[in-house]
Structures are given as C-alpha cells and as structure tokens.
C-alpha cells in the first residue's frame, strides 16, 4: 500500500483548480461565470470529498502501521543554498487532514445555502477552495520554509474572507487588523526559522530535530539564543492561534461570513498554531523555558478568553472568545507535554465549535429577515430569545454543541477536556485550579449564550417594555446598562488603523441602506411589527428554520460531536489497552503518563470526571439563575428575593459583577491599549518621518 503514500503529494493540489478557474472566469467572462453559479459548487465539494477519502485511507494506514513517510523534491538549485519541497505524512498530518476535509465539506455544503443570495457567491467559493488548498498544504508540508509559505497563504485567505463584505468599513478594518496581527506572528516565525537554520543548517523536520538534539546533547549551542529563536518561532503560533498578546484579531474576524468563522476561525486555521507547536514539540521539549512559556501563555489565554466571553453581546464574538479560551486549553496541554490530550481536544473542539458556529449562522440567517441585514442587529443576542419554538432543529444542534463544550459526559469535548484537566493536576496545582475553574466559566458563558438565544420570548418584539422592567430583571438590567455604553464604545475604540470620518459616515449610510433592502424584502413583516406592536406580531413575523442544505451539515456535525469522544475510550481487546487515538500517537511524546496501570487510571478518571462535571453543572446553574427567561423567573421570585435581602453584601457583589462585566465588555481594555499605544505610535512615526522627509531632506535640496 505504498502507493497511497507515493501519491499523497497530490492532496493540496486537488482543490486548487476551482479557485483558478473561478478567478479566471470572473476576470474574463464575468456574466457567463455568474450564470453558472451553482454549477461551481459541485466540483468544489467533489474535489474536497476526494481528498477526504484519500485522507481517511491514509489514516487507516497510519492506524495499522504507524509510520512516517517523507519525500522531497528540490525547488531551487544553487551551489550555496537550496530549498526543497516535499510532503511529510505522519499521524499528526493524517488527523489534521481528516479534520480539515470533513469540516471543509460540511461548511461548503452549508454555505451553498447560506451565501446563495450573496453577490459574491462565486468569489466566496473561490476563496474557500484556496483556503482549503493552502491549509492542506500546511499540514502536509515537510519543512519550515514550506510551513511558512502556506502559513502566509492561509493568513491571506483569512484576510480575504474576513474582508469578504468589503463595503463594510468595519470588515475592512477587521481584515486589515487580522492580517497585520498575523504578520507580526509571521515576523517571529520567519526569524525563528532563520535562527534555527543558522543553528542547525536545515529546514527538514527530521534532520532539524536530530541535529538539534545532538547539539543540545553535546552542549554546543548558545542556550540564550536557542531560547530566543524558539520563542520567536512560538510567536507565530501565538498569533495564528489567537493566544494572549495577539488575540485581538480573532473577535474582529467575526465580521466575515459565518461559514468562514466556522471553518477558519474555529476549526482549522486557528488550529494551525496548535499544529505547528505539536509538530515542533520534539524541538521545544528539550528547551524547558519554552515549555513553561507555552503553558503560561496557554493558561493566561484560557482565563482571559473565558472572562472576555462573559459579556459579549454579539453571538459570534462570544463564540470567538470561547474559541480563544479553548485554544488556550490546547496550548496549555502542549506546554505540559501531553501531546495526545491537546490533539484530542483539537479534534473535539473543532467539531463542536464548527457546530456551534453553523448553528449561530442558522440563527443569524433566520433573524436577518426580521431585524435587518446589519450584523449589529442580526447577531445581537439582545434581540434574540425564545427562538426555541421557531428553529427547533437548530436549537437541538446548538444545545448539543453547547453541552459538549461545557464538558457534559457523553459528548465529545468532555473526554478531551477531562484529559487536559487531569493532566494539569499532575503538572502544577495552580494551573490546574485555574483551568478547572475556567471550565466552570465556560459552562457559564456558553449557557448564557444559549439561554439568551433560545429561551424566553423573542426580545425584539418587546424591546420597549424590557426597558421599563429592567429593574426587576437582572440580566436585562445588565443589557440596559451596556446598551447605553455601545454608542460610547463605537467612538472610543479606535480601530487599528485610520478610519476617517468619511468612512464612518458611510458606514451609517450603508447600514440604513442595508436595512432598507431588508425592508423591501420583508416589507410585510416589518410593517406588521410597526403597526401592531408587540403581541400580535408573533403570528406574523417569526424567525423561520433554515433550509435542509443548512441543517444537514449541522446534523452531521452533531453526530460527530456525539461520537468523536469514542476515539479515546479504551476498549479492552485481548487484554491490551487499545484506543484509536493512542494507537495513532503512540510513538509521540508523553511526559506525564510514564507508568500508570489500568485500575488507577480508571479511578483517577472517575474522580476527575466528577470534579469537572460538577463545576460545569455549577456554571450552568449560575447561568440559569442569571439569564433565566423573564417569565419563568417569576416562579423563582423567592430565590431572587433572598438575594435582595442580603442588602449591603449584594451591593458589593453587584459592584464586582459590574466590574467584571465592564472589563469583559470592553475586551479587557487590551484593544484600547493596543490602539492607543501601537497605532498612535506608528502613525506618529509616519508623521514624523514624513515631516522629516519633507522639511529636512527635501528642504535642503529645495
């Protein structure tokens, strides 16, 4: 079966013809190409399915006989330097391949419907295929230069897709911010690659690891320099995976279409950072400081992401922060050296989060018809609520995703998160406590999103009286407070780069324009709302369930979410402990479980599971308490009253909660800090050099 390995170089190139053909078609024969629009989706999905079959086959090969296959061609030949191209297949690659292709196909099917009314339907599919190509190239690449090339290409695709709706100035700013932030990471990556080339003289992974280990063994390297290079290399992964200092782009990236958020900014591209660290783990593992740095940044991101997700109003932003926090878990696991747990969480999280994003896309799609096509409205959870009745299938899918992410037992993320948590106890108790309590926070914010979206009544219809009653209703009170702040926020948070007044004006212009389109489409519905007011409007305009093409991928993802956890369930077979995942990853590194027998393992597993499930339940319960829909909260009035009675303590609690919400709502003030310090700094520098250039250098000649 060597053939499969021999021909696997073709993997990244299979989806490539589609973007080339669509691009050429759009440039040369725009009308003809646009008329064929639905036709283009078929080859797209077909080619990706071919890759999927291929990669499943590869994975089966890997399970049967775990081997590493590498093949290189020379790219440039010169006497002094030569770059090589090649591919490198091992278990990590095959896992990533399956992940990318499955999520990719489902998202493609989904977006066929989601984007069907968009002007840029074809452009969207061209970008998507380009992204798939470069992502597949990234995971199969055999040396660091190749990784860098595809790394940048993936970043470019993300730039293009975030800025997909280029008429929105917000999207334009967001895509630039994403690209520049990623570029800072790439800067580190490139320097790190160059540094390691300097030390070892090689780019190929296996040579690199071998030479480097020899050097370390013989103590022939400058330790400081190695640490510097490794941390620069790690910076690339930090930026791509939205870890702490460079996380600012990810929430803004939600300006892109929702399928993109599902595919790129939840499942695959942000996992590229994890992939890189996992790939280079043999390198990092011999440098202890780096491992500490990785786990430290991981834990910071876990906590930060979870706290920032607490008060997001935009459903997708909330999910984005949650993604960031989950990626932090993976980084933490990698930093602890539990490679297996990190990859397992990567897989389970990818499926669950893709499911959540597709669910939120479906919600947005159904809300858009009612509140208008502005992302400020259709993604705003304030206007949602009570969608349970209208979109039942989406609700089930979303609930499964939420439960999975919270770590409720039979679902996917439970297994992986539990593994990380139990490993973290072995690593360091402080980290473990933080990780463990963040699991509670995760449950809290996920259920907050779920409850605000699906439970209660459709808030858009009684906005006016929610304002009156907010004194008695805790969560709406919070919203009320925040809504006053939104206006401030828009002007206070200066976007990363110049957004001049013209554009800002045009933003509003555009917004009203879009709403007007929405009005035209659904004129009847809108008029009913305005005329009949609150109660009667229910029967006329309500969100509708999405089409089957959108529901199908979600249901498939539900299945994945339900059963992916089984990957790591050990099933005893002829006395040997056997699970698929560890079979895939046996030869890899495992720092923490050197010797553990079955019984102890089970015992530990049970205790840890109880702990994590209980904290998750606690989080869910708190969320219920705070965000319980208005009508049902009347029944629990006693409980609320008991809270009220506590008087001064409550005020203190209130203050703390407000503080947290404030911090969270303003994204921890990190964005503001960046925009003030960096953007102003760069702009100031630009002004200064411009002035210098004009007055001094040019002044002399004039």
């Amino acid at each position: 079966m060597e053939h499969i390995y021999q021909y696997s170089w073709i993997i990244p190139f299979v989806p490539l013809p589609v973007p080339i053909l669509i691009g050429m078609g759009l440039l040369f024969f725009p009308t003809a190409t646009k008329n064929l629009r639905r036709m283009w989706t078929f080859p797209n999905i077909l080619l990706l399915s071919i890759v999927m079959i291929f990669s499943v086959d590869l994975a089966i090969q890997q399970i049967n006989r775990s081997s590493i296959y590498q093949y290189v061609w020379s790219w440039t030949i010169n006497n002094d330097f030569s770059f090589e191209f090649g591919y490198f297949i091992d278990s990590l690659t095959s896992i990533m391949l399956i992940l990318i292709t499955t999520v990719g196909i489902l998202v493609l099917i989904y977006s066929d419907n989601y984007m069907s009314h968009d002007q840029g339907y074809l452009r969207f599919f061209a970008y998507m295929s380009l992204f798939n190509t470069s992502m597949l190239g990234l995971v199969t690449s055999s040396n660091l230069i190749q990784i860098y090339i595809f790394w940048e290409l993936v970043g470019m695709c993300s730039y293009l897709l975030i800025g997909f709706w280029f008429t929105r100035p917000v999207a334009a700013n967001a895509c630039q911010k994403a690209f520049v932030t990623n570029r800072i990471g790439d800067f580190g990556l490139l320097l790190g690659i160059i540094g390691f080339y300097w030390i070892t003289g090689s780019f190929e992974f296996q040579d690199l690891f071998e030479i480097f280990n020899n050097l370390i063994y013989n103590n022939e390297v400058n330790f400081l320099f190695v640490t510097l290079c490794a941390s620069l290399l790690f910076a690339g992964a930090v930026a791509k995976s939205a870890q702490f200092p460079f996380h600012v782009w990810l929430p803004d990236a939600m300006e892109g279409p929702t399928p993109i958020s599902a595919l790129i900014h939840a499942a695959t591209m942000v996992a590229a950072g994890i992939f890189l660290v996992a790939r280079l783990l043999p390198l990092f593992i011999v440098i202890p400081y780096i491992m500490n740095l990785i786990s430290l940044l991981g834990i910071i991101t876990v906590l930060l992401g979870a706290t920032l997700a607490l008060a997001q109003k935009d459903i997708k932003r909330g999910l984005a922060y949650s993604t960031m926090s989950q990626l932090g878990y993976m980084m933490l696991a990698l930093g602890m050296g539990s490679y297996r747990a990190a990859l397992f969480h990567l897989i389970t999280h990818a499926y669950s989060k893709a499911l959540l994003f597709l669910g939120s896309g479906s919600i947005i799609h159904s809300m858009e018809a009612i509140v208008g096509y502005s992302p400020d409205k259709s993604q705003n959870m304030v206007f949602m609520g009570g969608l349970r009745k209208y979109v039942p299938i989406t609700k089930i899918a979303f609930l499964v995703g939420t439960l999975s992410l919270c770590g409720i037992p039979p679902l996917a993320c439970f297994w992986s998160k539990d593994e990380i948590l139990s490993d973290s106890w072995l690593y360091s108790p402080i980290f473990a406590i933080i990780a463990w309590s963040t699991a509670g926070l995760t449950a809290f914010y996920m259920f907050r999103i779920y409850l605000l979206t699906f439970e209660g009544h459709l808030n858009i219809h009684f906005q006016n009286y929610s304002g009156k009653k907010n004194s008695s209703f805790y969560s709406i009170k919070l919203w009320g407070k925040e809504e006053q702040k939104t206006i401030n926020r828009n002007f206070r948070l200066v976007p990363l780069l110049t957004m001049n007044n013209n554009e800002r004006a045009s933003l509003f212009c555009k917004k009203s324009y879009r709403i007007r389109i929405g009005g035209n489409v659904k004129r009847g519905a809108l008029i009913t709302i305005t005329n009949f007011g609150t109660k009667k409007a229910f029967s006329f305009s309500y969100p509708h369930e999405s089409d089957n093409t959108m529901l199908f991928p979600m249901l498939v993802l539900v299945l994945f979410t339900l059963f992916v956890g089984a990957l790591s369930i050990p099933f005893n077979q002829e006395g040997i402990r056997l699970d698929i995942l560890s079979k895939l990853l046996t030869p890899s590194i495992n720092l923490l479980h050197q010797n553990s027998n079955d019984f102890e393992d089970w015992y530990q597993f049970l205790t840890n599971a109880t702990f994590s499930v209980s904290i998750a339940c606690f989080g869910i319960f708190t969320a219920f308490l705070l965000y319980k829909p208005f009508y049902s909260s009347l029944q629990n009035l006693n409980l609320l009253n008991s809270f009220e009675k506590r008087g001064p303590k409550r005020i203190l609690l209130d203050k703390i909660i407000y503080l947290i919400y404030d911090w969270s709502y303003n994204r921890g003030y990190i964005d503001t800090f960046y925009s003030i310090s960096l953007t102003k700094g760069i702009r100031g520098l630009a002004e200064l050099t411009h002035f210098f250039d004009r007055r001094v250098i040019d002044g002399i000649t004039n």
Binding site: P30, T76, N79, L160, P169, A172, F179, S506, T701
Partner: protein
C-alpha cells in the same frame, strides 16, 4: 559562434525606428500607436530569439560580444555584450517598455513625440545594461536621461515641471560623479585609457584611490537607485508623471542604479566594496524602515507606492552588501521582481486615477463595486508587494535574508540586529499597502459627481496587468527561472572576493 550583431540591433533598432515616426503620414494617432507597438513587439521578439538561441546559461563569460572601434581619437569602442547579470534586466526592459507603451494608449497630446520618446527610452535603457565599455556605459546612461526628462516635463500632473527639474538636477548631479569616476578609472595607470570592463576587472588600485572611485560611483548610483538620503526626487517625480512613465521609472530606471552598483562597484572595485559593505547594509536596513514608515504618512496614492518601492530597494542594497552568493542572487531576483510589481502597481494606480480623478487616499473609497477587476488586480499585486509567498517578492526577500545570515563577513550580534530590523520592515509593509488598498477600494461611497460613471478595466488594461502578473507568480512558484540566469555570473563576481 555566429557574428551577427544581435546586440547592436537590439540597442539601436528602437531609436531608429522611432525617428521614422516623424515621417509617418498624418493620419491620426492610431497609426502611430500601432506602429510603436509593433516596433516594441518586434524588438522583444528579436531579444528573446537572440537570447534563447545564442546565449548559453552555463557560461559566466560575456556572450554575444561585439567590439568595434568607434572613434579613433580617444580610443572609444562600441563594446557590447551580455552576461548572466544583464540578461535579466534587458528582458525586463523589453517586457515593461512594451507594456508601458500599451498602457499609454489614452495619451493623445503630442502623441508623435510621446511615442518617439518611448522608443528612445527603449534604446536608452537597453544601452547601459548591454554595454561593456565604461565610457559607452556613461554615454548610454546620459542618453537615457533626455527622453525621461521630456516625458516628465510634458505629460503628467500640475507640478510636473518642478518635479522634472528636480529629477534632472539630481541625476545630473549624480552623473558628474559618474563621469569623474569613469574618467578616473579609465585614465589611471597606463598611458592608454582603458575602458573595457574585462581588463578593468582585473586591475587593482591603491586603496585610497579605490575608495574615492567607489564613493563617486556610489553617489551616482545612489541617486538613481535611490538610496536615502538622495531619494526625494523619486516621490515627486512619481507623483506627477504619467503612469506609463512611472512604469518605466519604477520598473527599469531604479534598477539601473542597482545594476550599476553590482556591475561597477562590486566587479571593478572589490576591495572598496568589502570595506563599504557594512555601511551599505546599515543604510539599506534604515532605508527599509524609514521609507516604509514614510509611506504610511503619504496622502498621495502614487507617492505612497513610490515610497514603497524605495523601501523595497533597501533589500537590493542589503543583498549587494552581504557579499554572499545567496544575497547577491536575492538582490538580482529582487531587481527583476520589483520591476514587475512596481510597474504593475503604478499602472493600476494610474488607471484608477483615470477613472476617479482623485489623488488623495482619504478622498477615495468604495471603488470596489464599480471597478471589480481593478480591485482584484490591485489586491493581488499589493499582496505581491508585501511579499506574499507564491509571488516573486517573497522569494527575493527570503533569499536576501538567507544571504545576510550566511554571510561570513559579519559577527553574530550585528547579523541578529540587522535581520531583526529588516523583519520589522516586513510588518510595516502590509500596514501601508493594505491600508492603501483599503482606503481606495473598501467601504462604501456614493458617487454624486455628475460625470461619475465608471468603466471597469477593458481588455487592454486587463491584458497589461495580467501579463505583468504572470511572471510575478511564475517566479514566485519556480524562482529558478531567474536564478539560473544569474547564478554562474554571481559566482564569478564573488570569486574575486575570496581568492584575491
């Protein structure tokens, strides 16, 4: 070997054919346009034919050489010939000039003179690249200034006379140093003036004299290249000139300075070069950062692109200064690659200016809807300009990076710092180029001006931009196209540094 004078024909044909324009019957612009295009294409075909059949890649020596005594009186020879170093720029010249002529289609005022000047530029640009004689090099160098000056002063924006004057003052100032250097080298030593590159390359000078010559040439080429602080003519000129002139300026003329640095400073004066190369690298690094951050502060679209090309020139200087095989190859690759990218960016900026009639970036916005094709091409090429992998700029910059770190001339710490600062330039590049494309195309704007109906690019403009784009991506995917041309020659040049 055959002795058909291919190079002489290549150099002389355009200007002679161009002078025939004045004898063409007055039958409107169309005839002149087609005539010029045909001449350009013919020239390009001759060039490619001659190079593909009579140039051997594995031979680092001069090929297609010709040697005629021109003026007996002071030993002036017509010596032309090409080697691995000059074949790339000559092909680039042919390609870009042809496309620039095609891009200048809308020019109607004084079209006779304009097209003649374009053809004269053609000759003037191939001349320096193919000359093998120092004095001939100088004369060609000067000859090419005349059409540029006229093109700058007669077609373009409002302040064109100011910028043309500035250009001519700067370059004339540079030329004086060039002349001094040429005469100094030529008259040094023997009784007979020696101006042949081959004999000069093997000559050695006292160190002080060599340094003086080096400085002279450096100033001349620094004006052309440009190297800071002698760069201020460039943004002004680019800001005002017609875009086809800009294509020539950015695509070819800037490269002449870099070519001169390699050809004369590196090849003829190796000792001084190894003394000066640390300074070159420092200047190049500063230039990358300085020009990139100045570019951010520009409001004028074309000036912003002009500063970006100054910033990219920094990589060439660093590559030249690194004195490694890798670095020099990278510099040559960057010469070619920026020739394409810079020309294409100016072309697209010009075509969108034709439609918008707006120069300042903060007045623009929302052009992506009416002009999707220009938007696509501009987006792709600004990606190419910020060195996206898969495009030629990335390969060139990467090779320069490796050139600097593999260089044995410098110590660890300076190399780290230089690499670090260069890489900061990598962060600044996307900031200015993406914010440029964002300000032009993104967003939404209602065009309420009465004459605001736009046509998207027609087939001609699409053809020009795509035919520039293809080599960019071709080199990016398979850089050996260019590297194989220059590889052997680069080794011979560097041989001097290590075994002498």
């Amino acid at each position: 070997m055959n002795y058909f004078p291919w190079l002489t024909i290549i150099v002389v044909l355009p200007v002679f054919a161009g002078s025939l324009i004045f004898f063409l019957p007055h039958r409107g612009n169309k005839l002149i346009k087609w005539y010029t295009i045909c001449i350009c294409l013919l020239e390009l075909l001759i060039t490619t034919y001659a190079f593909s059949y009579h140039f051997r890649l594995d031979d680092p020596l001069i090929q297609l050489a010709e040697d005629y005594k021109w003026i007996n009186f002071f030993d002036f020879y017509w010596r032309v010939g090409i080697d691995g170093l000059s074949i790339g720029p000559i092909l680039l010249t042919g390609f870009i000039t042809t496309l620039a002529t095609l891009a200048a289609w809308p020019v109607t005022r004084d079209s006779r003179l304009f097209y003649f000047l374009m053809l004269a530029m053609y000759s003037g640009q191939t001349g320096p690249f193919s000359s093998r004689d120092l004095l001939l090099f100088f004369i060609m160098w000067e000859f090419e200034l005349i059409p540029v000056y006229l093109l700058l002063s007669m077609w373009g924006g409002k302040k064109r006379l100011y910028s043309a004057t500035k250009f001519i003052l700067y370059t004339a100032g540079g030329s004086i140093f060039l002349l001094i250097g040429v005469l100094g080298i030529g008259l040094y030593g023997s009784n007979e003036p020696t101006l042949n590159f081959e004999t000069l390359a093997n000559q050695s000078y006292p160190v002080a004299l060599e340094i003086i010559f080096y400085i002279g040439f450096l100033i001349a080429f620094a004006v052309k290249s440009p190297i800071i602080p002698l760069h201020t003519w460039l943004p002004d000129t680019h800001g005002e000139a017609h875009y086809s002139t800009c294509m020539l300026l950015a695509g070819i003329l800037l490269k002449m300075g870099a070519y001169g640095l390699v050809r004369i400073n590196m090849e003829l004066l190796p000792h001084a070069h190894s003394i000066f190369s640390p300074w070159l690298i420092i200047v190049g690094t500063i230039q990358i950062i300085y020009a990139a951050s100045t570019s951010l502060g520009q409001r004028n679209l074309k000036k912003r692109i002009a500063y970006s090309s100054i910033s990219h020139m920094g990589f060439i200087i660093i590559g030249i200064g690194s004195i490694t095989d890798t670095g020099l190859n990278g510099a040559i690759l960057q010469i070619i690659s920026h020739g394409f990218i810079g020309a294409a960016l100016f072309f697209l900026a010009g075509t969108s200016y034709d439609r918008m009639r707006l120069v300042y970036l903060d007045e623009m916005g929302g052009m992506a809807i009416p002009l999707p094709k220009i938007f696509t091409m501009f987006g792709i090429l600004s990606m190419a300009s910020l060195a996206l992998p898969g495009m030629s700029g990335f390969v060139a910059e990467l090779i320069v990076f490796f050139g600097i770190i593999t260089s044995q001339k410098y110590f660890l710490m300076p190399k780290i710092i230089i690499t670090f600062v260069m890489a900061i330039g990598m962060i600044l590049t996307p900031i200015y180029s993406l914010s440029m494309s964002r300000q032009m195309f993104y967003g939404y704007k209602l065009f309420n001006a009465p004459s605001s109906y736009f046509f998207d690019s027609g087939p001609r403009e699409l053809f020009v931009s795509i035919s520039i784009f293809l080599p960019v991506i071709g080199i990016g995917i398979y850089p050996d196209f260019v590297l194989s041309l220059s590889g052997e020659k680069v080794e011979t040049i560097l041989y001097n540094y290590f075994y002498r």
